[in-house]
Symmetry: C2
C-alpha cells in the first residue's frame, strides 16, 4: 500500500472540502439566513461527508468508511483499510462563531492508525501525521512534547465534568483543576486534540467521544509522544463511543491515577 | 475633542503594536528560547505598554493612562480623557499557544467610554466601537445582538466558578450550566468579551477582572446592545477590580436573578 500517495490524496480532499465549506458558508453569511442556520449546517455536514465518501470510493472502492453522519456503509470491524471521518467537528461553533470547527480524518489499516489529519477550516491550518514518519503543522515538523509538572498544565475540560455527573467522581476533578494552572474549553474535540499534540494544551479529557472525533488525532498523538486512551488507560477501540484522555506523557498516568475515579 | 481623529490614531497605534509583538514573537519562535518564555512575555508586555504610553503622550500629554503593567502614572480619577490599556490580554495563551491573545484599549472622557478596541494580534482581527456611531468587526458593521432563550445560550465561564469558591454559591452556577446549551473558556477576558459583542458567545462571567480587561469591551458592548455590569448589576467603576458579566440583553437580568448568589 502506497501510504505517501494516500496521504497526498487525503490532503487534496481535505483542502477541497475546506474550500467548499468556506464557500457555502460565506454564501450563507451573505444571505443571512439565520433562522435556517441549523438546517444549513446539517446539509453542509452531510454534503461534506458524501464528498469524502465519493472521493475515497473513487480512489479505492474496497476502503471502508466510518463517518459521523452515517452516510457510508455499516462498518463493524477495522479489518483492512478504514477511513474514520468527521466532516465538521464543532457544529455549534460553526453555527454561532464561524470559526473553531474542524475536519478530522484518520486512515487505519487493520486497526493501526496510518494517517491522521485535523484541519482548521477557517484558518486553513493543517495538523497531520504519517505513522512512523512524524507529524507536521502545515509545513513545519512538530516537536515531541516536552515533560512538565502537573502544576504547570493547562487542560481542556468542559465545566460539566467538575459538577456532579454520572460518569466520574467530580470531587476528584475539582482537585485536578485546583492543582493545574488553568483550564480551557473550545467546544470542539478536534481543536482540543490539535492543541494537545502541538503543546498548546497539556491534556484534554472527555466523558464521551466517538471514533470520528479522535481517529485522526490519535495518529498525530503517537508521532509527538502524546498518550491517548480511554479513562481506564486502555486503547480506544474505534468502533464504539468511550471516555477519552489525550495528554502529555509526563502527566497522563498521574491524571488517571490521582484524579479520575469512574463511577 | 475630535473623536474621529483619536479613533484613527488609536487604530494606527494598535496595528503598529500588533506588528511589533508578532515580530518579537516570530524571532522568539525562531530562536526557541523556551526556558525564557516567561521573561520574554513580561518584556514584550511592558515594551508594548510603554509604546502606547509614548504614542499617547505624543498625541496629547494631558491624557491620563491606566495600564495593566503599571508603567504609566498613578490614576485615581476618571476625570478628563483617560486611556485604559491592556497590552497583552491572555498571557498564558501567548506563551503556550501563540494565539488567543489580545490588545484591548478603551478611551474614556469623564468616565464615559468613547472608543473601544479589542485586537486579535495573530489573526489581525479588530473589534471596535465609537460611542453613538456603532461597532465594527474589521470593516463590517456589527449587528445589534438578537434575543435568545437562556436554554440556547453558550456562555464563557471558567470551570473554577462551578466548584466551591469564596465568591459565589457554586450550586447556582451548576444550575446555570445545566440550563444552558454549553460553556466555553478561552483564557482571555478580551477574547470572551469580543465573542459576546459579536454574538459568538451569549454571555461571559468572571469573579474578578480589572479595568484594563474590560475597558475597551464595554464601549463595544453598548453599541451592540450587550449589557456589561458587575455581578450586583451595577456599572463597573473602572478604577478597581470587580466581578463582571457581559451578556446578551435578553439573558443578562435572568442570569443575575436566578443563578448568581454572591457570598
Amino acid at each position: 500500500m502506497d501510504i505517501q500517495r494516500i496521504d497526498q490524496y487525503a490532503k487534496e480532499m481535505i483542502f477541497e472540502a475546506g474550500k467548499r465549506i468556506r464557500d457555502a458558508f460565506s454564501y450563507d453569511l451573505k444571505v443571512e439566513t439565520k433562522s435556517g442556520a441549523n438546517d444549513l449546517v446539517t446539509n453542509i455536514d452531510r454534503e461534506t461527508e458524501l464528498f469524502f465518501i465519493e472521493k475515497i470510493k473513487a480512489f479505492d472502492a474496497t476502503h471502508k468508511i466510518i463517518g459521523e453522519e452515517g452516510m457510508g456503509e455499516k462498518v463493524d470491524s477495522l479489518e483492512g483499510p478504514v477511513w474514520i471521518i468527521d466532516p465538521i467537528d464543532g457544529t455549534m461553533n460553526f453555527v454561532k462563531q464561524h470559526r473553531h470547527f474542524f475536519i478530522t480524518i484518520g486512515f487505519f489499516v487493520d486497526g493501526i492508525g496510518k494517517l491522521g489529519y485535523i484541519f482548521d477550516v477557517m484558518r486553513e491550518d493543517l495538523f497531520y501525521a504519517i505513522e512512523g514518519k512524524g507529524a507536521w503543522y502545515n509545513d513545519s515538523p512538530m516537536r515531541k512534547l516536552q515533560p512538565l509538572k502537573i502544576e504547570e498544565a493547562i487542560i481542556g475540560i468542559n465545566a460539566s465534568w467538575v459538577t456532579p455527573n454520572s460518569y466520574l467522581n467530580h470531587e476528584k476533578m475539582i482537585e485536578l483543576i485546583h492543582t493545574i494552572r488553568g483550564t480551557r474549553s473550545y467546544g470542539s474535540a478536534a481543536m482540543e486534540i490539535a492543541f494537545v499534540v502541538s503543546g498548546k494544551l497539556d491534556a484534554y479529557i472527555s466523558m464521551c467521544l466517538s471514533p470520528w472525533d479522535i481517529g485522526g488525532g490519535t495518529v498525530i498523538a503517537k508521532e509527538v509522544g502524546a498518550i491517548a486512551t480511554n479513562l481506564k488507560g486502555e486503547y480506544f477501540d474505534f468502533l464504539n463511543p468511550d471516555t477519552f484522555i489525550i495528554a502529555n506523557p509526563s502527566i497522563h498516568q498521574k491524571i488517571l491515577e490521582h484524579y479520575i475515579e469512574e463511577k
